[in-house]
Each structure stands twice: as C-alpha cells, then as structure tokens.
C-alpha cells in the first residue's frame, strides 16, 4: 500500500510533461479563440454577477420602494406629458358645487372639530417623489430599472436551478438506463415514453394545476418535466461507452458499477451534460417568463421578467412602454448571449473539430 502512495509523490511522473492536453484544456483553448463566444461569456458572467449582487442585497435593494410618481417618465424623456403622474395636491381646487350648510341636520357635525384637531396631531411624512426616474417608473412609481434587475435575479435563478436539477435527473436516469440496460433500462424507457407522449406544454400545465404557486414549485415543475431530452442524449452516450475498453479495464481492477458509471464514464460524457445544461437554462428562463406572465409562476410578492411583461401589456395601451422595453431587452440580451455561448461551447467541446 505504501508503495502505491510513494509512487504518487515520487517524480516518476516525468512523462506527464509531454502528456497531450485533455478535453477541457483543448476546449478552453478553442473557446478563447472564439471571439463571439468570449463576448457572450462576459455578458453572461455580468448577468450572473448582477444576480448575485441583487440576491445579496448590494444592488436593487430598494426596488419595491415607491420612489417616483406613478408612471414616472424616463430621465431621457423628462419633458414628456405624464397625466397619470399628476400630483394629488394639484387637484386641491375649490369645489364648484355650491356649499350647503348641513351642520344642523348632520349627526356627526359636533365632532368634526375634534377630529380635525386629532388629524393635525398625526404627522404624515410625504416622501418626495421624483418626476423622472432613470428608466421610468411603474404604476406605483417603482424604479423600472431596479425592478428589471430584481426580475432578472428571479428569472435567472429559476432557470439556473431548474436546469441544474433537470440535468441531474436526466443524467442519473440516462446513466442508469444506458449503462445497466435490461430490466432497469426498460423501466426507465417506459418512464421516458410516458413523459414524452404528453405534449410538453400540457405536461407543465397539468403539473401547475395541482401544485401551489411558488418559486420552489416552478423550479420543480420545470425540472421534472424538462429532463427528457437530457436523458435521451446521456443514455445514448452511456450505451456507447459501457462496452468500451477503459470501462472493462475498470471492471477488471474491481471498480463497482456506480464507480464505473459516475467516476469513469461520467467525465467522458460531461461535455454533453454541460451543453445541455446551458441550453436548458435558456429554455427554462423563457418558460418561467411565460408561466409567471400567466400567473402560474412566481408568487405575487416577487417580481420576475414575466410579471413585468404582464403589467406592461396594459401599460402599453396608455403609452408607457418602458417597463416592456426594460424586461424585453434585458431578457433578449441575456438569452442571446447564453444561446451564443451554448453554440460556442458545443463547437469547443466537440472533439471532432480540431
């Protein structure tokens, strides 16, 4: 035993210096040459940092504060008319209805004075509301830009976690089905067929119908309905790898089934999983936006790009386009970057391309 340990530390590993670079090293080298891929990666990392910043409360902490007038104009449209944002005190004109003295028949009349005195004692601090916000305000005067950042946090978080979960489910089931085959494989194939014979949208809606609304629910629904594509690919890879020589060699040195599946084969198919993960993040962000729009997604007290779009629909009719633009553009930028990164990753990780 000690001899083995000694071997590791001893400088016998000299030939390793000429060892050819592994898949990941090669992929990283290829990715670095891909300008589009690198730019996309920077954008994606920027969005992820934004998500963590917002989550940690560093940015967009005050997104729910009503800092501006209702539908405050964006800063670059300061002069534009804003009928909805008219301050309340502007309406304090004298009423045109002639005043009729009702005090002798009004049963509450004797107490008016007392109430006035009491109201005078209560101090109402009217926070000054801004007429314009950087990228406009929503109906309650919240800053749309901060809302978009907070919405990005929710949407990206849901997409990311759901994709991780779906990849995990798909990989584990695909590995078992492809590696073991036989009865286990048949059972899992049956399971897969059941899930794919129901149209995807309908499957999501059926799940949404029975579970309560919430962030954890929507992650669960997306992951539990979205693992099938990953399963298919991982299974095919495992079938291919299970009979390869290195796996037989692992068996010969006494590696257990699970060790062969997840320690020996998994690194060789992990590039498939990574590309799928990246692809599913995009898919789930889009799905989350639609579900939240329909009221089946995030709870009412949180904000996501989907709930912003739901508000934006009625706002557009009265000419307030900025919330639609904020949610739409930020989502489009992230999803474009993520899709292009996925394409670059796929090219970089494809061992056939040199």
């Amino acid at each position: 035993m000690s001899a083995v340990l000694d071997n590791k530390s001893a400088p016998v590993a000299a030939p390793l210096h000429q060892a050819s670079p592994g898949l990941w090293t090669l992929a990283w080298r290829r990715l670095k040459k891909d300008k589009v891929g690198m730019v996309s990666m920077v954008v994606v990392i920027f969005f992820l940092l934004m998500m963590f910043g917002s989550w940690a409360g560093i940015i967009a902490k005050n997104w729910s504060k009503e800092v501006g007038v209702s539908y405050a104009n964006p800063a670059f449209m300061a002069g534009a008319e804003n009928l909805e944002g008219v301050r309340k005190d502007d309406k304090a004109e004298a009423s045109k209805v002639p005043y009729v003295d009702l005090s002798d028949i009004d049963p509450l009349a004797p107490r008016y004075k007392e109430w006035e005195e009491r109201t005078a004692k209560i101090k109402v601090t009217e926070t000054p509301r801004a007429d314009t916000l950087l990228f406009g305000g929503d109906k309650w005067g919240r800053d749309v830009l901060q809302k978009a950042i907070k919405g990005a946090e929710t949407s990206i978080f849901v997409g990311l976690v759901a994709a991780l979960l779906a990849t995990f489910i798909g990989t584990v089931l695909g590995a078992m089905s492809g590696y073991m085959g036989g009865k286990v494989g048949d059972a899992l194939e049956w399971f897969y067929n059941v899930f794919t014979s129901i149209p995807y949208i309908l499957l999501i809606l059926a799940f949404a119908a029975v579970f309560k609304r919430g962030l954890d629910t929507i992650i669960f629904i997306l992951a539990f309905t979205g693992w099938t594509g990953i399963y298919r690919l991982v299974r095919a890879e495992y079938i291919k790898h299970a009979s390869r020589e290195y796996v037989k060699a692992a068996q010969a040195i006494g590696a257990s089934h699970s060790r062969r599946m997840f320690v020996h084969i998994l690194p060789n198919v992990s590039h498939v999983c990574l590309v799928q993960l990246s692809q599913h993040v995009v898919q789930f962000i889009k799905a989350e936006v639609i579900l939240s729009f329909l009221g089946l997604g995030v709870p009412v007290d949180s904000v996501s790009w989907g709930t912003m779009l739901a508000e934006a629909q009625s706002e557009l009719v009265i000419g307030k386009w900025w919330q639609l633009a904020a949610a739409g553009i930020s989502m489009a930028i992230l999803v474009t970057a993520f899709s292009m990164l996925t394409d670059s990753l796929r090219d970089a990780l494809d061992p056939k391309i040199k």
Binding site: W190, F191, N193, V194, F195, S197, I198, P199, I201, L202, L203, L205, A206, F207, A208, A209, V210, F211, V282, K286, V289, I290, F293, L294, G295, L296, W305, G306, L309, A312, Q313, L316, V317, L324, A327, G328, M331, A332, I333, L334, V335, T336, S339, M340, D343
Partner: protein
C-alpha cells in the same frame, strides 16, 4: 408492415397506462381534496361529504383508479356512478344524498352521464370537441406556412453558406429567438391591431370563413414569424449536413450546376430530418398556442386548458391530457409509417 403497425399499437398500451397512472397520481393523490376545491367557501361538513361521495373520492385509491379507467374507456362520455346507478334502479344503502339524486337521474332517462366540468357543469367531451375547431383553424396554416417558408429560406441560406449574409441571418435568427413570444404578441397586437387598425385586436365568430380571413391572420402571421427563426436555423443545419456527403461531390463532379444539386439531391435527402421535425411538432397543433388563444380570445383548446388550470377544473385537464397523449402516440406511429413512403431505404423491424 401490418405486423409492424399491430405491434406498435400493442406497445402503446403500457405507455398509455403510464400516462393514466401519472395523471391519476397528479390529480387524485397530489392534487388535494377536490371536494374542497369544488365547495369553495362552504364549510358545512355534510355538504363536503356529499360532494366527495358524488365525485367518488370517498373511495380508496384503487377504486378511484377503476372509475378513471372506466371513464377513459368510454371516452369520458360515461361516469362509472351513472352507469351502475342506471343498471340498479333502487340504489339503497347509499345514504340520503344518493336517494335524493336518484329520481332526478331517472327522469333524465339516459343510461349514461358524461363526465362534467367542475366549473361550468358542461360535458367534458363536448367542451373538447367544440374547442378543437378554432385551434386547428389557427394551427394548421401555421404549421404548413412555417414548414414551407422554413425550407425555402433554409435552402437559400445554405446556398450562400459561409458568407457574410449567412452569418448575419443566423445572428438575426439567434437574436429573434431570444425575444420572448410574449413581447412579440404584446407589441404586434398593439401596433397592428390597436394603433394601425390593420387587423382586429381580438375576437372570434361561428363562421369559419370569417374567422379564417378576418380574425385568424394576425395570430397566424405572428406564430409563423416567431417559429421561422428556429426552423430556419435547424433546417439550415440539416442542409449543411447533407452538403458534405459524397453523393453531392459526385453530382458536382459529373458537372451538375449548384442549383440542381441543391434542389434535386440535397433537398430530397434533407427532407427526412425535416419531416421528423414536423412530425414532432404535429401533436402540438392540437394543443395550440395557448398564449395566442388567450391574447386574441380564440375559443380554442389551449385557452380552455389554461382556464381549467386557473379554475382547478380537474376533469377537463385530465380528459384533455389523456386524449392528447393518445393523439400524440398515434401521430408518432403515422409519422414512422410515412417514412417508408418518403425513404425507400427504411425497413420496419
């Protein structure tokens, strides 16, 4: 070939059984007590018990599963309760609630009662058959237009592959795909319908022709426009896969023009994966685009399912899911058989 079809049909049963189990598990086990959903604000225990009895959810799960299987076997036109009660005219020992209901059912004079929606009390098979028309009115033209336009454009892009035009179009496609469908619908409905008045904002009538020529064009155009970018990207990759094959080189070597090579040789072979893709999309046209149907108030199946989800109207969702799973399986079989017609190399195992 007949043997193949029979075997495939036979293989559908376990899958269908799985779908039924999944649906049953979701709606009867996870979905909570339907009586509470149905009763709403009623807190009267007796009333809730009555509702439970009427729905059959007071029974153990295996009995409930039997009821569900019976409903599916009759196409949701017959509940097990109404079936057994019509056979035995004197339902005794069922409690006062059942007795009170019995004469009413006999007056109906039919042996069977269809499964009814919890929200509207409409018969579920009638709901589904009446909603499928509007959905198909929109979705069939969408699928046809999308496929034809996608193939034509993809062949064009594949023809100029590698050029700046090709790369620009692919970039535009990626960007177009990344904008949410919601944004397209909101903006298009606002501008084309509300602001410029080129199309009706929303609506539907009983006349197919009026629907097809007046109400459907904007939703159809939107769906085609949004579906075109992914289709174009995918079909382009199919064409590019074919272009590198040896037979293409041979065709060029014997002096054929690039146009003939593309239209005659490459197109025919690329049609196989394209047809597969259309086959995958085909079951989707029965579900329809629930977003389009909601925005344009088209009384289609997608909107109906969405409404049912919001109302917790489980019978409608259950029936729709089972029906659509069956349709999907049959379409998949039909597509596999259709391969034979397209590709003579295909043999049935």
């Amino acid at each position: 070939m007949l043997a193949y079809i029979v075997r495939r049909l036979w293989q559908m049963f376990p899958t269908l059984a799985g779908v039924v189990l999944l649906i049953f598990f979701l709606f009867n086990a996870v979905g909570g007590d339907p009586a509470l959903v149905l009763a709403g604000k009623i807190t009267n225990k007796e009333q809730i018990e009555n509702i439970r009895k009427q729905l059959g959810v007071d029974q153990p799960y295996h009995v409930q599963l039997g009821y569900f299987a019976f409903e599916i076997a009759t196409g949701f036109t017959c509940t097990y309760k109404s079936f057994t009660e019509s056979k035995s005219p004197a339902p005794d020992a069922k409690g006062p609630a059942a007795d009170a209901k019995a004469p009413e059912k006999k007056a109906d004079n039919s042996t069977c009662q269809a499964v009814r929606s919890w929200a509207t009390n409409e018969e579920v098979p009638k709901i589904l058959t009446s909603r499928i028309g509007p959905t198909l009115t929109v979705m069939v033209p969408v699928l046809i237009l999308e496929t034809i336009l996608g193939v034509i454009l993809a062949i064009g892009v594949a023809y100029v592959r590698g050029t700046l035009t090709d790369r620009m179009i692919m970039m535009i496609c990626t960007f177009a795909m990344s904008i949410s469908f919601l944004v397209y619908i909101i903006v298009a409905q606002y501008y084309f319908g509300f602001k410029w008045g080129m199309f009706p904002v929303q609506g539907w009538t009983d006349s197919f022709w009026k629907n097809f020529t007046y109400y459907a064009p904007l939703p159809i155009m939107l769906a085609v426009f949004v579906g075109l970018a992914p289709a174009l990207r995918l079909y382009r990759s199919f064409f590019l896969d074919e272009i590198n094959h040896d037979y293409v080189r041979t065709a060029r070597a014997k002096g054929l023009g690039e146009k003939t090579v593309m239209m005659k040789h490459v197109l025919r072979n690329a049609m196989i994966p394209i047809l597969t893709n259309v086959g995958i999309a085909l079951p989707g046209i029965f579900v329809g685009s629930f977003l389009l149907e909601t925005f344009f108030s088209i009384p289609g199946l997608g909107r109906e399912i969405l409404v049912a989800v919001n109302r917790s109207d489980f019978p409608v969702i259950k029936a729709a899911t089972v029906y659509l799973a069956m349709i999907t399986m049959i379409i998949n079989l039909a597509v596999d058989v259709a391969y034979k017609a397209v590709d003579p190399r295909v043999t049935f195992k």
